[in-house]
């Protein structure tokens, strides 16, 4: 008793099962008599389907049926609201992007379904697709995360005082696909009770609502089971077309149906981070005090949907600048719907803003870290609210010291190691964190075994471990006696596991439930009734929390080596310090931050979805040519936690850390490349040809 379990660097409970391959992901489930469905996707990006020839496909043994727009049952594929997603459920002959579902083959074996899918010949009446961001039609931006897409404070257009120093540049980030290791997968089964789905999702309850709408049934008749999720990063936040197609296939065949999205299809209809173009204008007094920041952003969206990559949020909410302007614009291309990807807005926005800050530091001849400190904001600069907690100053100091930043010679190309040019760069990490309502059930049995249940999901972040720690800490029981159940809409309701909100949202609900259980036990004098004791708690964030701004912060310092002849870049050192409020588990927290940093390195140097501009066909829809870092590309990163006791964020004092690691880390790498080479690449990723062209 009274062993501090919360915060401890505890290995995740499912770790041994995961590394020995015993954990079951959605596609590992195999209901008896299940059929296999394979989606056929479009090869045109702006077309009407002229003809679908199924004859060769039907010759494949064990094919049960083939669904196309000609015979698919009519369902409700419409958007539920402006930020919802149009589903492509074979309701008409319109094709709007490469790899849109156009048919579904259902067979008794996966191999035969796949072969039949290959044999389907679809011909199109194709028109030239729109692939040019500058020429594409503009779509309206209503809101970003419920806030205005355009925002100004002070007088951003006032003439600049004499002697001020400006930076005006445009930064670009490419289309990026999430590519979790586990591809999307759904198993659907209809019976007299309704629809049961096993789905790889970040939000079982969201899947339930959407499928109830699509099939016109009450949500209570839909049960969604979300087993272990092998990574998601936003791509599994809301259900895409394949979930409904699996359910449709099951309905038509009256059998359970398993549908696994293939890797090439992962580049098709399951979302991506949109291409962005960001114009950043900064002006500062000679002493480095920012006078004005403007951040004008546009990103691609699809023909049918509007998704805003809210790049401006990063600059809006970070530095103390009296005059500010931010805007967002959408351009419609023949691409699938973009969606949230780890650090939406703040990852891409931080690349632009923190690169521009680095450029400003050079223009002013002020150390880049010193420039950030001179513009440090003690309150949230956009709304003036106090922060629930902010230890960014400490992050800067600690990381800079561990990195040895003060010894830096700021001159580009000033440091050489053998043949290599060595550069160092830094950037600020910042990410708004959220909290939503969540329910939790907690039960203690006569023997003192505790079961905590919330219908959240486990996507590799450590939820089952961390929430058991929360309950164990509050109840004062050993960690080993607490079991966490998740991943089922039959369990208490949980919010979308995204936006760095799960620890705060589910954690607060579990804490409140555990506290209620503890009080009940205390009232009983500590004795547990024979049939145990159970508490169900519904936790909603009180309005009082809105008095504070909650953001996670950090400081990134990167060292790179650049081969000046060959243009290759390797990250050789990385130090980051992060403030995420109270840390629930030092080990899983550090893993989250490391994952974020690796994503930042990846964004800076590797990731890019490449389209054929003539056809809008994606030409690197595989993990050989869509590059992500290998272990050899990731240095031993030193990641430090600067914890404070955040009394205002939420009852357990956490600010989410799932995304702050990617925010700014790409810019730190880009700034290091500039320091190494004197070449400023404003168009990610930083590939050898861009350095060779300018060197």
């Amino acid at each position: 008793m009274n062993v501090p379990v919360l915060g401890a660097a505890r290995s995740r409970v499912e770790g041994p099962e995961k590394v020995t391959g015993r954990v079951r992901y959605t596609a590992d489930y195999a209901p008896e008599d299940a059929l296999h469905a394979v989606v056929v996707t479009s090869t045109a990006a702006n077309a009407r389907i002229a003809e679908i020839d199924e004859r060769l496909a039907l010759e494949v043994p064990s094919v049960v049926t083939i669904l196309t727009h000609r015979n698919a049952p009519r369902v409700d594929a419409r958007k539920q609201g402006p930020t919802s997603t149009l589903l492509f459920l074979l309701q008409n002959d319109v094709v709007q992007f490469d790899r849109q579902p156009v048919a579904v083959v259902i067979a008794r074996t996966l191999e035969q379904a796949a072969e039949a899918a290959d044999r389907i010949r679809v011909s199109y009446r194709a028109e030239t697709p729109q692939t040019d961001l500058d020429a594409a039609p503009v779509a309206p931006v209503e809101t970003i995360f419920g806030q205005p897409g355009t925002h100004a404070r002070g007088n951003p257009d006032a003439p600049l005082p004499a002697g001020s120093v400006s930076v005006r540049q445009t930064y670009r980030t490419p289309t990026e696909h999430h590519n979790p290791m586990e591809t999307h997968a759904t198993i659907a089964r209809w019976d007299s009770e309704g629809l049961t789905l096993w789905d790889s999702t970040q939000w079982a309850f969201g899947v339930r609502e959407r499928m109830a709408q699509v099939f016109g049934i009450d949500p209570s008749r839909v049960r969604v089971i979300a087993p272990y999720v092998g990574g998601a990063f936003g791509s599994k936040g809301t259900p895409w077309s394949h979930v409904a197609l699996a359910a449709m296939a099951s309905k038509v065949t009256n059998r359970p149906v398993k549908l696994v999205v293939t890797r090439p299809q992962m580049f098709g209809f399951v979302g991506h981070r949109p291409k962005t173009e960001q114009r950043v204008e900064l002006a500062a007094a000679r002493d480095g005090a920012l006078i004005v920041v403007k951040h004008v952003c546009q990103n691609e969206t699809s023909i049918a949907d509007e998704f805003v990559e809210p790049c401006g949020v990063f600059s809006r909410d970070l530095y103390a600048v009296p005059n500010y302007f931010m805007s967002h614009r959408l351009r419609r291309l023949n691409v699938s719907k973009p969606t949230y990807q780890r650090g939406p807005g703040e990852s891409t926005g931080s690349f632009a803003m923190e690169s521009a800050m680095d450029e400003l530091a050079y223009a002013l001849a002020i150390d880049p870290l010193e420039l950030r400190l001179r513009n440090y904001s003690e309150v949230q600069p956009n709304n003036g609210k106090p922060y629930s907690g902010k230890c960014l100053r400490e992050c800067y100091a600690l990381a800079a010291e561990r990195f040895g930043w003060s010894a830096r010679n700021p001159a580009p190309r000033s440091t050489v190691r053998g043949r290599m040019l060595v550069g160092t760069g830094m950037a600020t990490a910042s990410r708004a964190t959220h909290r939503s309502g969540s329910h939790a059930r907690i039960r203690i049995d006569r023997a003192g075994e505790v079961t905590v249940a919330v219908g959240t999901i486990e996507q590799g972040t450590g939820s089952p471990t961390v929430f058991a720690q929360v309950a164990a800490e509050i109840l004062g029981v050993p960690f080993e006696r607490v079991r966490f159940l998740w991943g089922d809409t039959d369990l208490p309701q949980a919010p979308l596991a995204a936006g760095s909100q799960t620890a705060a949202s589910v954690g607060s609900a579990v804490a409140a439930a555990a506290q209620a259980l503890r009080r009940s036990l205390d009232e009983l004098g500590g004795s547990i009734p024979n049939d145990g004791l159970e508490i169900v708690h519904a936790e909603e964030p009180p309005e009082s929390e809105e008095a504070y701004a909650t953001q996670a912060f950090g400081a990134h310092f990167a060292e790179v080596e650049v081969d000046p002849d060959l243009g290759t870049v390797r990250v050789t050192r990385f130090v980051g310090a992060f403030d995420g409020g109270r840390i629930l588990n030092e080990k899983t927290a550090r893993s989250q931050l490391l994952g974020g940093v690796v994503w930042g390195i990846s964004m800076a140097l590797f990731e890019q979805t490449r389209y054929d501009r003539r056809t809008a066909r994606i030409m690197n829809a595989n993990l050989s040519e869509y590059l992500v870092p290998t272990n050899a590309d990731v240095p031993n990163a030193e990641l430090l936690l600067v914890s404070d006791d955040d009394r205002h964020a939420n009852p357990i004092g956490v600010r989410g850390i799932g995304e702050v690691g990617i925010c700014g880390s790409g810019a730190a790498v880009a700034n290091a490349v500039y320091h190494a080479t004197g070449v400023r690449v404003r168009d990610l990723p930083i590939t050898p040809e861009k350095l060779l062209a300018q060197a």
Partner: protein, 326 residues
């Protein structure tokens, strides 16, 4: 993937006979290439003849040549201490290929026959003269960052993918093949065909011929060789540019050199032009730069891959610097 017959051959003759009998039948060893292509519907052989049981896995020195059985795995060969010492360029080319898992499976015979990574070749939804003769070349005017700048034609600009074959080209290796008409050896320099107007014809192998060995003749200065591979990330990526070089240097002068380039050409690109420029030249950067200019004479970019002309030159210069460093 199409239905196909799977036959396990017990003897070389049995394998050749099986493939000769079935039109379109293919040999399979490690399967790291053919199975990929079948899954992507690029190839659809009616029969696969598994040759893994054939006695072709030996690696041995025979007097003045190194003989590598066609079924030796890439990792077997890369790990051979004698080969590492005698032909560093070959060992490094293998080390830098693919991933450990793939190197444990992929055979040497399969490696030299691996198909291009050209995205258009690998995507049946797009035009490709190599996959579908007469359909056009999608890469010209399309995504061509990884495509070739040497040996191209208006019909095909696909880059040859093998690292190993580049090193083999530098050492005048020969490919031993056996078919229904007997055994023969084909020099690597003649083994690959330029795409010309028939990019679907990639090698001089006759239908049904089976590679049984790769033979590397001894070279007095082969120890002074290296392979340099340049790519975006540190591991597990095909070359943007590569160079296999060997030099015979005495008193600061290059007596003779071998140069082959990879990642930039439609076939493993031996460069006699660079070798001539180096022969008799002082072992210094200026000579290397002249050799690089000579090697890339006639190179042609297609837009996104223009950078490869500069990158290939610098890769060659660097490789020569590495191998001549004291």
């Amino acid at each position: 993937m199409n239905d196909f017959t799977f036959v396990k051959a017990q003897t070389t003759t049995g394998a050749i006979t099986a493939v000769a009998r079935e039109w379109g039948a293919r040999y399979v060893a490690g399967g790291t290439n053919i199975l990929d292509l079948m899954k992507d519907a690029v190839e659809a052989p009616p029969m696969l003849v598994d040759i893994n049981a054939l006695p072709l896995r030996e690696i041995e020195w025979q007097q003045d040549r190194f003989v590598v059985g066609a079924l030796a795995r890439m990792s077997d060969v890369a790990g051979d201490p004698q080969l590492r010492g005698a032909f560093p360029a070959i060992a490094i080319a293998l080390d830098e290929s693919a991933s450990p898992q793939l190197r444990n499976m992929a055979s040497i015979g399969g490696n030299v026959l691996q198909r291009t990574r050209c995205a258009y070749f690998r995507d049946p939804a797009t035009p490709c003269n190599k996959r579908d003769p007469g359909s056009g070349c999608g890469a010209i005017g399309g995504e061509n960052r990884r495509m070739a700048v040497l040996g191209t034609s208006e019909h095909c600009i696909a880059t040859h993918a093998s690292d190993l074959a580049v090193a083999l080209a530098a050492f005048d290796a020969r490919i031993e093949v056996v078919g229904t008409r007997g055994t023969r050896e084909i020099p690597v320099g003649e083994f690959y065909r330029l795409p010309g107007s028939t990019p679907q014809m990639e090698t001089r192998l006759a239908p049904g011929e089976l590679i049984t060995a790769v033979i590397v003749p001894a070279l007095s200065y082969s120890r002074r060789s290296t392979y340099l591979k340049v790519r975006d990330r540190a591991e597990y990526e095909f070359a943007l540019a590569s160079a296999a070089v060997a030099v015979d240097v005495a008193n600061g002068t290059i007596r003779e050199a071998r140069v082959a380039l990879g990642g930039i050409a439609t076939v493993p690109w031996r460069s006699p032009e660079a070798e001539r420029a180096l022969a008799g030249a002082p072992a210094e950067r200026a000579s290397f730069e002249r050799a690089a200019e000579a090697a890339l004479t006639g190179a042609r970019g297609y837009g996104e891959n223009d950078y490869k002309i500069v990158l290939a030159k610098r890769t060659l210069v660097r490789a020569l610097e590495m191998v001549t460093a004291p």
